[in-house]
Amino acid sequence: MTGAVLFQWVLASLPEIIVITGACILLILGQLMRDGQDHWLVSASVAIVLIAALATLMLAGEVRPAYSGMFVADRFAVFFKFVFYLATVLTFLLSRKYADIEGIGSSEYYVMLLFALSGMMIMASSTDLLSIYVGLELMVLCTYVLTGFLRHERRSNEAALKYVILGAVSTGIFLYGVSLVYGLTGTTQLDAMAAAVSGDPFDPGLLLAVVFIVAGLVFKIGAVPFHMWVPDVYEGAPTTVTAFMSVGPKAAGFAVILRVFLNPLVAASDVWIIVAVIAVVTAALGSFVALVQDNFKRLLAYSSIAHAGFATFGVVAGGADGVASVMLYLLIYAFMNLGIFGAVIMMRNGDFSGEVIEDYAGFAKSHPGLALLMLIYLFSLAGIPPTAGFFAKFYVLVALVERGFVFLAVVAVLLSAVAAYFYIRIVMVIYMREPERAFEPALTPLVRTTLFCTAAGTIGIGLFPAWFLRLAQQSVFGG
């Protein structure tokens, strides 16, 4: 290995290195810091992410393989990294005031988020099952801790414990699948695997391996049948962490799924039916169970299951349009879901939790502007034009119909009609009820900025989807 090669490798993974180094420095500085200085932490964390984003942008020009085929910096990874940056930065902005209110005083909170971010970035760039595993573990270990960050709250502890146990099991299943693949094909690299697989797609051992890998990954995106942890963990975790988890790690899970399945394992397409079934059942379960939820965070948890199901329809469609549709879906979902979570986080003030849907009765009367924002996010989540959520669903449906899955497309839209019901129910509570109490949302400039960004994304991509669509289409791997 020459110096030049090493330099190339370092260059390809520069954004990851920046984030990890930054997080380490922050970890040390955080110990020296006195109380009440966390505004400094927020600025520093945001700065680290922005520098990483800049580095990513500068390296985006060409495909850079690194670390002997374990890692690649291509457009596909760049696209996902920007979704992660978006999710992380907005989570930082939302966290400042929320951390005050909830009494999260420690700097580790921000450091953990940065480490989780680096894990997700590694996942998006991995081209080897082992580097995927490293990224995955780095990410989930941080989210386990973040979930339990409200140490004095039982709910939070319970959620973290549940998450750790189930997460460890799923990781074990994933690793087992990886070891099977290695045993059968003699490699863990995705490309070499593809070559091995295309010979005999019906190898039962390989089928088993695929099922295990699917199971491990499906857990991360919260799809059926490995969705059980989602509602409890989402409800128990600090709301900012829930917002982060519903967008960042989920997108990272999809990044890996797209890379693993649509590239090497697409030859084993007889197992494709598994993915289709997962998509239908996930979207159905998420939509129907959400109908009966009274807790806003739980509802959003089920809604995120439903959305994961809908995005999986794009995976089922496959092909360039299918991949692009999933990517665009996740980008748009990041905007609208962080928006609605931003609204929920903003409501948390004093003794007001903002977690029960009924709490929002008559919100439109006292805060018409904020209510309008929530209306936009909710209609976008429901997929009503002219919001971005509509275009996201539309493009997934286009990909489905293009590949001849018209029946699946019909199922998908009917399920999204069911999903529309519970979003509209929240709009109803906000707009058509009399207020029962006064609202004092914790509106800081940072929260305002977040809400503004997410609203701009939700409306902007809805009205002018062309640029984002082209970006997604060009970022499909290989490009």
Binding site: A364, I384, P385, L397, V406, V410, A420
Partner: protein, 491 residues
């Protein structure tokens, strides 16, 4: 580049809504909304004045790329059929503002913003030449309409708004799949004109026909997917009812005219008997339901189902008289039923009851009101000299030509409408004041007159001299018919 008149018409209400957002005073809001809608109407009149009635080609067309990667354009244009409805929408726009002048007394600004966005989207539907743009406008309308019914409606408004939303959403989503399937079968374009020129195999047409039918039938609404309509109508504020009856219901029928007939001609011809039968069912069943109502608004709502049955019957009779009658009847229904809802609103504001039994002898206390009510009641009954007579006559003659049994059923429906409308008028306007009539009734004031008079003018104008209106649609209808029969004769 020509002057973008249609974009101006579509976006003027949006601009109005933006201006309204900045205002604080309720009266300023009302006047501004009126100003913008009237200006919009003026442009619509200008559009109609500059409209070339000799051609069926799309006019005032505009075309800009929107999402070029998948062939979506921002394309506007009108032919005779859409021009008539752009005009109707713009006309009812400012009438709706007048109708909600005092009826809406809380959150006036928000209401007017919703009303104006609604208008922009409806205008967008009628002038879109791109299927994606059409769908976006068609579906986005759910948001302001949901709020108009749900926030400013009557006691059962929440349920009604929900029902309206879910019915139309579920219908439209299948339409969306149809649109995407059409996109791939029609050469990966959303251009409505290009798609119309395609010849699709019959089985594809059949599937698409039913996917579209569900969406359009919910909007029309046709029996048996009509049940959201009475709820929505009764709970909506007056302006909401006028929009619903005047424009929203027309969109379903417009969908048949713009998509089902020209794009799926074989299927349209093949299933026309089914559609005629459903229309006859709507005419008779809607009439019977209207006969049984005691609530003024419900009566008008159910009569709408019956009247829209005439419209779909005219369309699917697939002959010149039927089609022209159906389209004219769409316009007439917008004017007449819009006016009737206005009248219900006027009297409801004074008495806060809509029960027919509570009224009686109104003629003595409010002669102008009852006089005009008589005109619109007679128009709704399709008495000669009124607009609906012309339309209904054309529809019936087209319907008889297409199918004797259906035509006969429609005549029965026309009789029914005479029964319930005359009964309603007798109980409300004539005879002694009823027990419940403890109220002081003022006759219509200037503002209400301003809303009623133009509608009355159209009732008589179309009634006595329908030629200019038929002229507008004539070329387009003839072209549509040739398309349907040329391409549809394969079956």
């Amino acid at each position: 580049m020509t002057f973008p008149l249609l974009s101006l018409i579509v976006f003027l209400p949006v601009a109005g809504a933006a201006v309204l957002m900045c205002l604080r005073n309720d009266d300023a809001v009302r006047w501004t909304a009126l100003g913008f809608t009237m200006a919009d109407f003026a442009f619509a009149v200008a559009m109609l004045a500059g409209f070339d009635t000799t051609t069926h080609e799309m006019q005032f067309t505009e075309r800009y790329p929107w999402v070029p990667a998948i062939g979506i354009t921002y394309a506007l244009g009108v032919d005779g059929i859409s021009a008539l409805f752009v005009f109707l929408t713009a006309l009812l726009g400012w009438i709706c503002v007048l109708a909600s002048w005092v009826a809406i007394d809380r959150k006036v600004k928000e209401f007017m913003v919703a009303l104006l966005s609604m208008q922009a989207l409806m205008l967008g539907v009628f002038s879109a030449l791109d299927l994606f743009l059409f769908y976006v406008c068609w579906e986005a309308m759910l948001i302001p309409m949901y709020l108009i019914i749900g926030v400013w409606g009557g006691a059962g408004r929440v349920y009604a708004a929900f029902k309206f939303f879910l019915y139309t959403l579920a219908g439209s989503l299948l339409f969306l799949i149809g649109v995407i399937v059409l996109y791939f079968h029609g050469g990966q374009t959303f251009d409505i004109l290009a798609l119309t020129a395609q010849d699709l195999p019959f089985d594809v047409q059949s599937w698409l026909f039913f996917a579209f039918l569900i969406a359009f039938a919910v909007k029309v609404p046709m029996v048996p997917v009509h049940t959201w309509l009475p709820d929505a109508h009764v709970q909506a504020p007056t302006a909401g009812s006028i929009i619903l009856a005047g424009v929203l219901l027309k969109m379903g029928a417009y969908g048949f005219l713009r998509f089902s007939l020209p794009m799926l001609p074989e299927a349209s011809v093949y299933y026309s008997t089914l559609m005629l039968a459903l229309s006859a069912l709507a005419i008779v069943y809607g009439g019977l339901l209207a006969l049984a109502q005691d609530d003024l608004k419900k009566l008008v709502a159910y009569s709408s189902i019956s009247h829209m049955g005439f419209v779909t019957m005219g369309i699917f009779s697939l002959n010149l008289r039927g089609l022209e009658g159906g389209i004219l009847q769409m316009f007439n229904h917008g004017v007449t039923t819009g006016a009737l809802f206005l009248f219900v609103g006027v009297i409801y504001e004074r008495t806060h009851t809509r029960s027919i039994a509570d009224y009686g002898g109104l003629m003595k206390v409010a002669p102008v009101y009852t006089g005009f009510l008589a005109l619109f009641t007679l128009s709704s009954m399709a008495l000669p000299g009124t607009n609906s007579f012309v339309g209904e006559l054309l529809v019936l003659s087209g319907g008889f030509a297409a199918n004797m049994a259906v035509g006969t059923a429609a005549v029965l429906g026309a009789l029914l409408s005479a029964a319930y409308l005359l009964g309603m008028y007798r109980k409300v306007a004539l005879g002694p004041a009823s027990v419940g009539a403890r109220y002081e009734i003022r006759d219509v004031n200037v503002r209400e007159m301003a809303a009623i008079l133009p509608l009355a003018v159209f009732v008589l104008w179309v009634g006595f001299y329908p030629k200019p209106f038929l002229n507008v649609i004539d070329a387009s209808v003839k072209n549509l018919l040739t398309e349907v029969h040329d391409k549809g004769s394969g079956q």
